[in-house]
Symmetry: C2
Subunit: 133 residues, 2 copies
């Protein structure tokens, strides 16, 4: 079951530059910065209510966020929906012939289990995420 929007990922060239507006002007705070080697990305987490804005800075131009910036520039990259049971959700999606990027969950930021749906059906890049227990 979908519980809430977990986060909104924004692809940026530089966390240092992009975060200035969100923190110094809009008054939000960076809760932490972490690197996810599997996604070739450094993530600055900015909580806003029950959601997090995540600024995604590529650590490698060949990673998914690096390629996104090269082809489409900086901007909204994906949204993540928090689920209680990601394996059950992926099985349900496959049963309904929904195209998936990840048929099995991987480990993402904060040790959450994550899987991306294919934007063909969702129209936007949508990630499912099940927080670490």
């Amino acid at each position: 079951m979908i519980q809430k929007v977990s986060h909104i990922g924004i692809a940026v060239k530089s966390i240092e530059e992009a975060s200035r507006l969100y923190t110094q002007v809009l008054g939000l705070k960076i809760a932490g910065i972490e690197t996810v080697p599997d996604q070739k990305v450094k993530i600055a987490v900015i909580p806003v209510g029950e959601v997090r804005i995540e600024l995604l800075e590529p650590t490698d131009p060949e990673g998914p966020v690096g390629k996104h910036i090269a082809s489409r520039g900086e901007g909204l990259h994906h949204i993540a929906l928090q689920v209680d049971d990601i394996r059950a959700e992926l099985a349900h999606l496959q049963h309904n012939d929904v195209p998936l990027v990840d048929k099995a969950p991987r480990v993402g930021g904060g040790q959450a289990l994550i899987a991306f749906l294919h934007p063909k059906a969702t129209k936007a890049l949508v990630e499912l995420t099940q927080p670490a227990p």
Copy 2:
């Protein structure tokens, strides 16, 4: 002050087609559909926790969402941050030389007051919104 993420706008060619996955497969519900003539868009509102996913279908290819789809395809269009006092927020942003699309608020969906920031500073298209009282 920023209170929460109000909504995430996804540009789609057809609400009917795009909503199928969100409702029939993911189990979310459309709370309402409304047309905003000023934005040349029809909006399907899908609540998820304290946030709304808004599917944005152009009513005119020359409107902002129609142009977005023509140049970049369907996909994430903007995020909206809910504030308690949009005029004070816009004055604060202008005082800090943040580039704005709208220097004064306009009336958006649900009679909210809305204003867009320029993506140059925010990296993504960000709307401020103050709900109708």
